[in-house]
Structures are given as C-alpha cells and as structure tokens.
C-alpha cells in the first residue's frame, strides 16, 4: 500500500504533467491547424501554381470559362487599407481611453466605463456588419456624396469600433502594471498629471501598449463577417476612402462554401489562408523584434 508521501508525489507528478500538456497544447493546435491548411492547398501550390500572378496581379477570376486567373493583389490591398484605417482611428482612441480609465477617472466612472467598453466587445461581428450595411451605407452616401456607402471608410470605422475594446483593456492593464513607486517619485518631483502620463507612464508601459496595438491589428486583419458586409466586396485596388474593396478573409468566407472540394479554386482559397498565416506571423515577429530592441536600449 502506498503511504501518504508516495501518494502525494504521484498526484504531484500527474498534475504537473497535466499542466505541462496544457502549455504545450497551444503549440500542437497551431501546428495542427497550419498543417491542415497547408495540406489542403499544397496540391496546387507545388504543381503549376503561378506565384507571380498570385501576388502581383489584381485579376481575380476563379470561375472564368475562358481564362481562370488567381491574382490576389487587390484583396491584399483591401485587407491592408481597411486595417490601416481602422488602426489609425482605434489606436489614438483606444490608448486615450486606456489612459483616462487608468489615471484620470474615479473608481465609479472607471467601473461603468469598463463594463460598457466590454459590452462593445461582446457585440457579434454579424451585427456590426448589419449596422454597416443598413445604417452606415445611407449615412455615408448622404454625408460624403459618395456613389455607394459600402467602402473602405465604412469597413474601417466598423473595424475600429470592434478593435477599440481590445486596445483599451490590454492598454489599461499595461498602464496598471507600471509600479506605483514610479508615479509617487514623479509626483514628488512636482510634475503635472500630463507630464506624468507623457514622460513616465507611456515610456514605462511601452511594450504592453505595443502588444495592445498589435492585438488590435490582428483583430482587424482577421475579421471576416463584418467586412464582408460593410466593404462592398468588390475586387479593386482602392484609390480613395470611398472605393469599395474586398478583403482576403471575406473572399474565403464567400467562396469556400461553394467551391467544389479539392478543385483548383478550393485549393487557392486555402493558399490565401496560408498567406494570412504568413501575414500574422510577420506582424508578430516584428512586434517581438521591436519589443526586444526597445529593451536593449
């Protein structure tokens, strides 16, 4: 019979193993998903796939009878333009809101604001898309005299609203993580509140804020349903905010359901999935390098 101590050491090892498994599982899942997406697209990727056309042509004709062309340049431009506009709007607003919540307001206002901002994050993306299609579309036509309200501006605004909650809550955590001793030391030196934020807190919380922004970028670039409905879903390289665009994610969502299994079209949609993987990978890698560079200084 096992004595108490042995029994304890056995459960201890078992629990440790379990926790270790949980830690490793993320790696397994990521590689599993990558492997699956890669396998579905690989057949075409290595046999007769035209990389130049794929990356540098904006002609997307997946079901043409005469001349099938798979160029995703316009789709990349669509994703990039909508994401960039969303970040341009969401980062100042989100970081500003995070500073206000963590430094300037009383506990009551803080709690209310946090609850409301979290509610903003809980709105499903289909509902956002619906708002874009039925509310923002006529509004943009009326305000800007645009021929159609489903465009970069519409999609960018919706995505900004969707990513602000992420930027706010992670940015606020980053600011909170700055030790109070920093604040006390600065105040003892007689700085104003603005100087405290600008000179002490922002530099100290730099990494966390950058993480907040990049998670916002990830949210915006990966969003599908809302942009499918709000951007107009038109294959073209935008030249102004009033142009309709189509994103990489929306293309997969709209066409995968009806592309015949394992046809070229189906495989190309998976290759777009690989491309999205690479884009997020590069974003994360740059973020990592930037954060490290900041630390070395």
């Amino acid at each position: 019979m096992m004595n108490r101590r042995q029994w304890q050491s056995v459960t201890e090892t078992a629990i440790e193993l379990l926790i270790r498994l949980c830690g490793i599982s993320a790696i397994l899942f990521v590689f599993g998903i990558f492997f699956f997406v890669f396998r579905e697209g690989a057949g075409f990727l290595f046999h007769g796939f035209n990389f130049r056309e794929f990356l540098f042509s904006s002609e997307w004709y997946p079901t043409s009878h005469s001349h099938v062309r798979y160029g995703v340049l316009a789709l990349i431009a669509g994703t990039a333009s909508v994401t960039a506009l969303a970040m341009l709007l969401a980062v100042p607003f989100g970081v500003g809101a995070a500073i206000f919540i963590s430094e300037f307001c009383g506990p009551k206002v803080r709690e209310t604001l946090k609850i409301i901002i979290e509610m903003l994050a809980a709105i499903p993306s289909v509902v956002w898309g619906f708002i874009g299609l039925t509310v923002m579309n006529p509004l943009i036509i009326r305000l800007f005299g645009a021929p159609i309200g489903l465009n970069v501006l519409n999609g960018g605004l919706i995505l900004a609203l969707m990513s602000v909650p992420i930027v706010v809550s992670i940015g606020e955590d980053a600011l909170k993580a700055v030790p109070d001793s920093y604040r006390e030391a600065a105040l003892a030196l007689g700085v104003t509140r603005w100087q405290l934020v600008y000179r002490v807190l922002l530099p100290a919380a730099k990494n966390g804020l950058l993480a907040a922004v990049l998670l916002g970028v990830g949210r915006a670039a990966g969003e599908t349903m809302a942009v499918l409905m709000a951007t107009g879903h038109a294959v073209r390289i935008p030249t102004s905010l009033m142009d309709s665009v189509r994103t990489l994610t929306a293309t997969i969502a709209a066409e995968l359901g009806e592309a015949p299994m394992h046809s070229q079209h189906y495989q190309v949609l998976f290759i777009i999935g690989i491309l999205l993987f690479l884009i997020t990978f590069v974003i994360n890698l740059t973020a990592d390098l930037v954060v490290r560079g900041v630390r070395v200084k």
Binding site: T63, H67, N137
Partner: protein, 295 residues
C-alpha cells in the same frame, strides 16, 4: 440579408422535426432538399404546402447556391438538389464516379432574371448590348450619362451589383449577356444572395443589379429588356417568359441521384401537378406551360 435568411432557415429546420415528433406519426419520412439560392423561397413554399397534402413526409429545405446543391448530390447526402442552371458534364461524371448513379433532371418552372435600378433612376429599358458594356470585361460604360441618362443628385457613376462567383444566377447572367467565355468586369459589388442585391440597389441611387424576378420588390425599379438596341423591350412577366420574348429567362431544375425513391418521386409529381405549379406563380416565378408535360 443572407445571414438573417440562414438564421430563419436554421430556426425553421430546427423546428420541423420537433413539430413532427409531436404529431406522433409512426413513419416520418424526410426529404433533404438543398441548393439554389434563387429557388429557396419557392422550395420552402412547396415544402410548407406539401405537409398539408402528405403529413407523413417532411421536406427540409436549405439554400447556399446551385453549386452547393450539386456538390451535396455528388456526395450523395441529399435527396433533391435545386439548381438554377443545368448540371455541367463534369459534375455528372463526378456523380457517376462517386455514387455510381447519374443525376436525373426534372424541370420545375422558369425564372426570368430581372434587371433593376434605384427608384430615382429615370431609365425604363435597357438592351443586352448595353448590359454587356456595363458588366463585361473591356466594356466601356462606367457612367449613366454614357447611355443618355441624367441622374438626379449627380450620382453618375454606375454601381454594378453582382453575385458571388459561383452562384447559378451569376453564371447564367454571364452567359446570357456576355456569351460563353467572356468574363465580367472586375470591381462589381459581389453580394452573397439575391436579397442582398435588391437591398443594396434599393439604397444606392447609382446602382444596377440583377436577380431572379421573384426577388424584385416595390423598392427597386425593374427595367424592360430589349435583345437589340433600339428594338422592342419586354418586361419580365409570365407571358413574356413563356413565349420567349423576354431575353434573359431560364428554366429551374431539381436533380435526384438516379431514379428517385417512391416518396421523393411522389413529391416531384406533386410539384408538377396543378397545385404545385400554382405555388410557382404565387412565389413570383413562371410555371411550366400547361400543354408540355414533363418527359
């Protein structure tokens, strides 16, 4: 709104079996019916009416597009596939390889593709060549003024509204106005369902769009279509479709794998009957001509 439609459908589908189990019919038979987005309202109307005729059979309808229906047929997971185009030869071949049976075709009605514009647009009729200039790759029309149309409020740019590239409506419209082989011009707003097209056109002054005539509402203006510029133009009506004067009309099909089973055959026979064809008219489509019975 496509998502709303699918939600409603999901809700209806979720209710069907429950409603049936309540009635405690000993032998409930289910007919799976998937396919064309154009036909989904019609198929739903048939299914609802058929329950009254034959309470022991429940027909479960969902949309997704003609391609989705045929794909399900090839995989053998559906009893009837709705299709707003004819099956391609390679699809027949695939079905044969996968299941050993060839799809059997039943024509169930006609659909005229309606072309419409915003209510404020003064245009009343359009010729096929003009549509090709607007929609076709290499076509020159990008402004309403090029066709002599003066738009109020300066919305001169033509906003082309189209469908996602694998819908049956998209394929038929492409072939009907551009002929085989020619492609659409890029940059059209590709909506994910006929309802979305109508919705967008009704809210956008400079827009032009197309869908099955059953989807046209009072919110948009349906154009008369001429085969040749300057020729006589025709509205998408039942008479004009049946005597072939309306140039962009197509038959609607249902496909089964091989000869249909007894209860499925009975359902299709009922669709061909007077009661079934009455529903075609009620849903805004064109019924099969009286004399020409199904071969």
């Amino acid at each position: 709104m496509k998502p709303v439609v699918s939600l409603l459908l999901a809700a209806t589908l979720a209710w069907l079996p429950i409603g049936c189990s309540r009635s405690k019919q000993p032998e409930m038979r289910v007919i799976q019916n998937i396919g064309s987005d154009t036909m989904v309202n019609l198929a739903q109307a048939w299914a609802e009416e058929y329950v009254k005729v034959e309470p022991s059979v429940s027909v479960e309808v969902s949309g997704g597009g003609s391609g989705t229906g045929i794909a399900a047929l090839i995989n053998g997971t559906v009893d009837i596939a709705n299709c707003s185009r004819q099956v391609h030869p390679q699809e027949i071949e695939q079905a044969r390889q996968n299941t050993g049976k060839a799809p059997r075709e039943f024509m169930v009605g006609y659909d005229a593709l309606a072309v419409y514009v915003h209510k404020s647009n003064p245009m009343e009729e359009i010729a096929l060549e003009q549509l090709a200039e607007i929609y076709g790759e290499g076509g020159h029309f990008t402004k309403w003024s090029q066709m002599g149309i003066t738009m109020r409020g300066g919305a001169d740019e033509i906003i082309r509204v189209s469908r996602q590239s694998n819908s049956g409506t998209y394929e038929y419209f492409r072939e009907a106005i551009l002929g085989k082989g020619r492609d659409f011009k890029l940059g059209s707003r590709d909506m994910h369902g006929s309802k979305d097209v109508v919705e967008l056109v009704s809210r956008t002054p400079g827009a032009i769009g197309y869908s099955g005539m059953g989807y046209a509402t009072a919110e948009v203006k349906t154009l008369r279509i001429a085969s040749k510029a300057g020729g006589k133009s025709f509205a998408p009506t039942v008479e004009n479709t049946l005597d072939h004067t309306y140039p962009i009309a197509r038959p609607l099909f249902m496909y089964t794998l091989g000869e249909p089973a007894g209860h499925v055959k009975k359902y299709i026979d009922w669709i061909h009957s007077e009661a079934g064809q009455k529903i075609v008219t009620q849903s805004g489509y064109v019924p099969l001509p009286r004399t020409g019975t199904q071969p």
